[in-house]
Every structure is written in C-alpha cells, then in structure tokens.
C-alpha cells in the first residue's frame, strides 16, 4: 500500500482538565473519502482544528507525504494543501459572491488577474451546478446557497485534503446530490476528503471508510463496505440501540391547530392545513419550500404573514409572538444560539417562558423556580447538577432538551411548533427527544415539525404535508406515509393530471 497522504499520530489535546482528544491517530490515503462520526463532544471539531492549525496539539504529530509538519495556522494549512468548510458559515454578508470565494486566499485578488479569478470562481460554481450572479451580495442568498458558496471557495483552493464539517446540514437533497457528485470527481482526481457528519446515510452513500470517535478517543476505523448502520451506531454510542423512533401510538384528542389561507409574502401562498392534537404533523420540504417560514409565522415571528389561524376554537392573530404564546402556541427553534437560548443559567432558561408562575406573596421565589426547573430537568433528562451552568456550555443535545423542558411547563397542553427538532443533536439525545415528542402527544399537545431529514419525517410523523416552492403538494396519513412519495413530492412534484394518471 502506498504511503498515506496525511498521517496523524497519537494526537492529544487538553483544555485545562478536559481531554478533548486522547491519542487519536488517522491515516488518509490519496483519493479516499473518510467519514468521521461521533456524538457531540466526541472530539471531531477539535481534530479538525488541530489539522487546520487553529489549535496546537499537546502531543502527537501530523505528517503530510510522510514529512512531519507543524501546522502554524489556517494560512499555513492552506499552503500544505488542506482546506476546510467549517460548520459555522464564514462568509462576509455584504461582500459579493466573488469576493467571498477569494476571501482569505493568498492569491491577492485585489486588482490584477480579476478576470482570471472570475473565471475560476465561475468554474467552481458551475461544478456545483449553482446558478448565481458573482456580483450578488451574499446576504441576499438563502442559507443553503451560502453553504454552497463556501464549498465553491474550497474548490478554488486547489487543496489536496478537503475537510467538510457537517456540510449538508442546510442543504436540500438536490444540492446534496450535486455536492456528492463534486466529491466523487475530486476523489477521481486523487484528492482526499475528511467528511464529518451526523447523517449516517451519507456515510454509506459517499464515503470509503469511517473513523468513529467517542469521548476524545479513537474507537474504530473501518471500510464502509465492512460495516452496517447498526454497528456504526453501536460504535458511536458504545451500546446498541434497538430503535431510535418510538412506536406511533396515536392518542385521540379533539381539535387542534387550524391554518386557513396562510400567506407569507415571498414564501408561501394560500396554505391551509390542520395539526390535530395528540398527533405529530410534519411539514416536509427542501430549503426554500417555505416550511421554515410557515413554522415561524405560526409562532408569530413573521410580521407580514396573513391568514386565519385558530387553536382550540380560539383565533390566533398572526405577527405577534406574544399573541401566539397566549393562544398556547410554543416554538422550539432550530437555531438555538440565535433565538433559542439565553446566555443565562440552565435554571433560568428552563423557566423563561413563564417565570411569573413562581411567585410567593407577589415576588418571585427562587426556591420555587429551582423546584420547578428541577422538575422540568428531570422530565426532559437534563442533569440537575447542571442547573447553575450557562446554557451555552451544554452540548447540542442537552440544549435542545432544555428548550423542550421550557415548553413543557405550560398548565394546559398547547401547540408545539418545532423547526428541525434534532439539528446538531447526537444520536443518543435524538432518541430521547423523539421520546419526549411522543410524551407531548399523549398529553394532548398538537405537534407540528419541519424537517429536512426524511427518515425522521417517516419515523415520527402521523401526518405529512409536502411543500414545494411555497405550494402544498399533498398530504399523507399513517400507512400512506412513504419516503419515496415524499421525496418525489418535494423534489419533482407531479402535476395533478399526472397524479391522477
């Protein structure tokens, strides 16, 4: 076997007392796509940052082409042939697509060779089949398109080792297919890819081999052909899970969330549907289909939404989160950092939606707040010992559980609206969150979720509504829910005539 292109040996990194990585080794061959899997906190991001020179390892070495290197920082990593698409977007919103693609490059794009740089940027976009104006400022693009611009930036760097950290989280299925096509052609050119993902399906679709990390340690590296989904999950968790989705046991309740002729300028036209109590209704659609906007509008967060919405016979005025909340509609955002969590303790985050409940003779009682928060923490499976910690220091899964705990405290079951309920959440916590969602159903909540993970839609939903470019395509119930029908609806909807035939 030829010498590996990249060889990391016994990398160790500590942050104070925390071992982020313990003696992790990794060999990457030319033309190999290597998946790195692991739960949140397993050490994936630390590994990436060591390879890009953002951190220096405490011990261990990195060699490229069998020559040992000390990577000093991102620019140095670029010169060594490494390039990264990070999990967080790193685009300058007010610069054009072209400028963003060349941002941070050492090829000095200021005045000369502008035409040449234009041509190469256009070629990169072309590879991704992305039809964009190079002079368009990035803030006008959708999230998925921005992610693709980052990938285009990576393609222009002529890197030998490409690192992609959760590149598909914001991409639609069609865009993911294009990305995979590009990765395959890069592999054919002999370039290597390190591909970090939570989506196990992608491991089997695009990767040659997979390395599993757990608690900062290397657990296993195997060829994808030699493993199954179950062994992979078992490696990641350290235990096998029988079934991640709880059984669908529909509880019968009356009424629900009724949406009539919902219109959101630029996103959705005249959408009508119903999310009954005791059931999980899923809005399935790709990015740009309008699902996210519908969820936000029902939560009162879209100011120019119009239509008739009622919940349990009470009308819900649109455009005010306060009114939606009063009507019993609660929202769990997918963007926990931006509009989910407060930079306060876990305790306060848990009781935030209604602190006024915890009063004693007119004043807030911290004793009652703590007791209430402990109850909620127990309910959703958050360690009670961490009630005093800043919520931002929890893992993604625990953060999401805190948000679920926050909406659990209501005296009467309401409507729960969730955008991508398990984005950035590891496999173990996902199973717990799915269990919580079923608990909500039993209590008589009406659940409405958007999800771009079709497996999740099929695994969880009792009703599925498919959207394509702001139009409702169809509605499926119970046994009719079928992944291929949904996929066809949200990517290539049939016209009503075709459907009839």
């Amino acid at each position: 076997m030829a010498a590996p292109l990249l060889s990391a040996t016994s990398l160790t990194k500590r942050f104070g007392a925390v071992h982020a990585l313990r003696g992790v080794s990794l060999d990457l061959a030319n033309g190999e796509i290597r998946a790195i899997c692991g739960e949140n906190g397993a050490g994936k991001s630390t590994l990436v940052k060591l390879l890009m020179g953002l951190y220096a390892p405490d011990s261990g070495t990195v060699a490229i082409d069998s020559a040992e290197v000390r990577i000093q920082g991102p620019q140095h990593a670029h010169r060594l042939g490494l390039a990264l698409v990070a999990q967080e977007l790193s685009l300058a919103p007010h610069l054009s697509v072209l400028d963003n693609i060349w941002l941070g490059s050492e090829e000095v794009p200021l005045f000369h060779r502008r035409a040449e740089l234009r041509r190469r940027a256009a070629a990169a976009l072309e590879k991704l089949n992305l039809d964009l104006d190079l002079d368009e400022p990035v803030y006008r693009l959708e999230v998925g398109q921005r992610q693709l611009v980052e990938i285009a930036r990576l393609l222009t760097r002529d890197a030998r080792i490409l690192i992609l950290d959760e590149p598909t989280a914001t991409l639609s299925d069609v865009e993911i297919e294009r990305l995979f096509g590009v990765l395959r052609s890069l592999r054919a050119e002999g370039r290597s890819v390190i591909y970090i993902t939570h989506r196990l399906g992608e491991v089997f679709e695009i990767c040659d081999s997979v390395t599993v990390l757990r608690n900062g340690e290397h657990i296993a590296t195997s060829a994808v052909s030699a493993i199954t989904r179950d062994t992979l999950i078992g490696d990641m968790l350290g235990r096998a899970i029988a079934e991640i989705y709880p059984p669908k046991r529909v509880s019968v309740h009356h009424g629900g969330l009724m949406v009539d002729s919902l219109r959101i300028p630029g996103a959705v036209e005249r959408l009508s549907f119903e999310a009954p109590r005791g059931k999980i209704t899923a809005l399935a659609g790709q990015i740009g289909s309008g699902t996210t906007e519908v969820a936000r509008a029902l939560a009162g967060l879209v100011h120019n939404a119009t239509g008739t919405v009622s919940f349990g016979d009470h009308p819900v005025p649109l455009g005010s989160a306060y009114s939606s909340r009063r009507a019993g509609i609660m929202f769990v955002s997918e963007d926990r950092a931006a509009d989910g969590l407060f930079h306060r303790s876990v305790l306060e985050n848990l009781v935030a939606s209604d602190v006024g409940r915890f009063k004693h003779s007119g004043l807030l009682s911290w004793q009652r707040m703590r007791a209430g928060a402990e109850k909620l923490a127990e309910l959703v499976g958050v360690d009670k010992g961490r009630l005093g910690a800043d919520a931002f220091n929890l893992s993604g899964g625990n953060q999401q559980k805190v948000l679920f705990g926050r909406v659990s405290g209501a005296p009467n079951p309401g409507a729960l609206i969730m955008n991508e309920p398990t984005r950035g959440v590891d496999v173990g916590a996902r199973a717990e969150i799915y269990g919580l969602m079923r608990d909500f159903c039993r209590q008589g909540y009406a659940l409405l979720m958007t999800s771009s993970d079709l497996e999740e839609v099929v695994g969880m939903a009792d009703n599925v509504i498919t959207l394509y470019r702001g139009q409702m395509i169809s509605r499926y119930e119970d046994e009719d829910i079928d992944i291929t029908k949904i996929l066809s609806d949200i990517t290539h909807p049939l016209s009503p005539a075709e459907r009839a035939a």
Binding site: A17, A321, H343
Partner: protein, 315 residues
Amino acid sequence: MSRKALASNQLTAVAWLRLLFVATLAVAVVLTPGFLSAPSLLTLLTTVSFVGCVAVGMTFITLSGNIMSFSLGATVAACAVTFVAVLNAAGPLAGIVAALTVGGLLSGAQGAIIGGLRANPIIVSIAALALIQGGLNFITGNATTNANPGAGHEVLRGKLLGLPIEFVVLLILVVLGQSILTWTTFGRHIYFVGSGVRAAEAVGLRVGWIVTGAYFWAGLFSAVAGVLLGLRYNQANMEYGFGYDYDAIAAILVGGTAIQGGQGSVFRTFAGVIFIATIQVLLLLHGFRQEWQYLIAGIIVLLVVMLQTTGRRHV
C-alpha cells in the same frame, strides 16, 4: 479535575486581580493624610450619591442589552429644574412627583422607540440628549432657577443615622433596584431580553414593553439624582448632571456588568461607583487637577473592557 474546577481557576485569576486592585486602593487610602477624616469621607459619600443614582438607573439599560444612554445626565438637569420650579410653586412633595414624572417620561419614551422599533439605542439617546438640552435652554433661557427660601424642602436636608441623606437615598435605590431585578417578573425579563433578544421574542415576551420599562426606571432613578441636586444646592440649571452618563457607565463596567447585557447587577454597579469615587478623591487629595481625574477614569474603563474581552476569548 472537572470542567467546573477549570472555570473557577480562571475566575481566581480575575478575582486575584480585583483583590490586588482593592488592596492597593486600601493602602493608598490609609496612607493618604486627610482621607479618613470625617469631613472628607462625608463629602465623598455625598458626591458619589448623585452619580450613583444615575448608575443604578443606567444598569437597567445596560442589562437590557442596550449598552448605555447618553441622555441620562441631561435628564438629571431637566428633573432638577422641574423639581425646583414646582417646589417654588407647590411645595416639595409636588416637586418630587413632577421630577419623577418628567424623568420617567423622558427616558421611557426613548425606551419605547428603542424597544418598539428596534432603533439603535446609542443614536436615540444622542438625539434625545440634543432635544432635552435644547428644550431646557428654550424654557430656562440658560438661567439658574433658585429655590425660594422657606419652600419647605429644608427638612429634607442634612443627615440620617450619621450619613448624608443623599447617600441614604442611594442605598435605598440600590436595594430597590436590585430587588426589582431579582424578585420581579419584569426584572427577570430584563435579563432575558439582554441575554438574547430574539430568544425573548420567540418565547413570547413583550420585548418592546420590557425595554420601555427598563428605560422608564432609568429615568426615575435619574430623576432622584436631579431632586437630590436641587435640594443640595437650592437651585438648578441645565449644567447639572453633565458627564454623569459617562461616570455611570464607567462604574457599571468597573463593577463587572457585561456591556453586551444580560449579566451583572446593581450591587456590582454600586461597588464600581465607590471604587471610582475613591480613586478620584485620592487624586484630588494628592493635588492632581480635574483633568487628571478624567484621564485616570478613562484609563480604568479601557483596562476593564480589555480585561473583560481577553477573559472571554480564553474561555
């Protein structure tokens, strides 16, 4: 060691630095002749009280995520003038009520614009500063309003329990302010809005009202400073309260309240007020002139902000 132990290690570094600061100051205080004499201390306590009231109010604004207001000093002047004018016409109680009303409205209106329209708090407060000063100039003609002798306000002067009455009022405001923040729903909401305004909106908090409320209280507390000034000097003019906004934000930052909002307390602000005032008096007693006091205050604020930012980067 756990992650918690790690955090407390970092905390100790900052805590040590604080302790060092305070210890140096204590030594300087003891070694400075004249500092620990009763008249000197009483003067110190009286002077900090005016800025202290404004700082307590400003803390509400900072905690709500709106950085600071540049108009609270002018609000103090407006309230002082209002107090003296109404005092002359209708007695001290009416004067106090009028001053509080003016302060609450002036600041609350800015809060409504900032919270309701999501306008930039700095710009709104600068505009308000110009409006208040212009309005005052128009009304008073830049003249000093004097309190009539025997208007009934002399009874509010002097000492209480051996402390200047201004300082007693400040202590009451500190306790009141922190109680509002800790033990009322509104107070918690200020922290929530300050530590994540979009999250606050998403859980259905009425952000506009909460921000208006924070500014309203800031105005009330500043009005108290105006009343105290009017009482103390028996007069009021539009120069009163000049620079108080700056001293207040300096005290807030030195106390350790986060400039981006959501973290901090009125008690911290109080500690900051005392700290800065002590340094200023020390400088004065050592014969440094006023410009030195400004310079030193500026340097302290810069140091604190740099310390806060580097601390955050390491975490």
